[in-house]
Symmetry: C2
DNA sequence: CACAAAATATGTTATACAGCATGTTTTTAT
DNA sequence: ATAAAAACATGCTGTATAACATATTTTGTG
């Protein structure tokens, strides 16, 4: 992908910038492609790059107790990530990996912080983004802890629909997750993700074909998510 | 409390400001005192005031399913709160109430956003604060979902020690929470908070005298928190 | 293509924790 | 001071979900 094309994609980041600042950004920008399941960064590492997902799908997750992972959030194009830790003067508390082949623009995080101190509109952009993410995290805490297994899985399916959308048929989720990833997203064991998925299919709420998931009744999913 | 005194307390907010900006802040600043258990703001309300806790203790919580509350974070003097929702252009997703008599400085949130657009250092202050809070929220998600009941309670006790410190004797927590609040902080029922607390006391990890909690072995609490 | 490894599926068992009931103590209000 | 309400305490029961076991299917690799 050419730099011109990249700049167009990250316009919400570039719009507030002066031409000079934009050039500075472009000079320091590199583009990498990660393969399916490849690690992008790991918990405990020191953050050096600000990232923007240009194409593909990425998960942000944490290693919990006894090897259980928790998917904290998912990234879709064009979204920014990998900056929180540096802004907080911390190491990464999370890890990131590619769900599928993903193209990522990387800019040294110091370049970004430099631009932030120069450009107030850019600072405001990050204030808003962080505020939205913090709200999502707060919601998620309650949902993951208080809802029952069916409610958590239903919510995850709706969340995936919101995040990555549907295919042309208007009902198949555009992301094909392993049962394990689905479990890690919903805070349950893989076995229970499989079982509950099977139940949903038997109840004609969804239809499953391998990793393809068709949402038959969004209303029912919403109801299960709300109550359970 | 006089405005002079308040300004001194919120110096980390004021330091980046020009004298003119500081005067603008002072003009728009009011101080309220909330009684024990009094609501400060509620879920769904539209945010209008930026707040700073000058003295006392405050909880930020969410109403979960079937009346179960989840305490999301606690505020100590001098910390800022009640600004996330406005920055994200949302209603409050959480509620706030006073654990005990609390004095709170309030500034119209529009005053703050105005100052942020004028003052880059102030914007950076909030970027850092939000980034730290987002990291805490991510950690908390995993801790609350993956740890067992003893681990969650142990963690909460250590968290309260970190947040509010100890009394002069060097081992009594400076905050006296109801068993219900302790349960809401640790994602468990009140019954189980009581039971587990009793167990910890029997194991000589803590000593309880009504709502007073003495930490006898911090190492053991840390171990339980880590493993459980 | 064959083989190993991983992912999916499903049944069984074990257990952590919620839910409920009941009694006691402490706090609050009149 | 006394009644009422709230908080605390503890035992019992039920159940949601983890943990384990064992097939079966799919995927990846030499």
């Amino acid at each position: 992908m050419g730099k011109e094309e990249v700049l167009e994609k990250i316009s919400d980041l570039c719009n507030p910038l002066t031409q000079e600042q934009r050039d500075f950004l472009t000079e320091n920008l590199t583009v990498y492609t990660y393969r399916k399941n490849e690690a992008i960064y790991s918990e405990g590492e020191f953050p050096t790059q600000f990232m923007c997902l240009l194409s593909g799908k990425v998960k942000i997750f944490k290693n919990g107790v006894s090897g259980r992972n928790q998917i904290i959030r998912v990234i879709k194009p064009v979204e920014y990530f990998a900056y929180r830790a540096y802004f907080a003067h911390q190491e990464y508390l999370t890890a990131a990996a590619a769900f599928e082949t993903s193209t990522i623009a990387q800019i040294p995080i110091t370049t970004i912080t430099h631009l932030i101190t120069e450009n107030n509109a850019l600072a405001c952009f990050f204030i808003k983004q962080l505020s939205i993410d913090l709200g999502i995290a707060d919601e998620r805490t309650v949902n993951l802890t208080q809802k029952h297994i069916r409610g958590r899985l239903a919510e995850s399916l709706l969340f995936l629909k919101e995040s990555y959308g549907l295919e042309e048929d208007g009902c198949t989720l555009s992301i094909y997750l392993s049962r394990e990833d689905l479990a890690n997203l919903s805070n349950m064991t893989t076995s229970n993700a499989i079982r509950t998925l099977t139940n949903f299919a038997a109840e004609k709420i969804i239809a499953i074909d391998g990793r393809k998931i068709k949402i038959i009744s969004e209303e029912k999913l919403e109801k299960i998510s709300r109550i359970g």
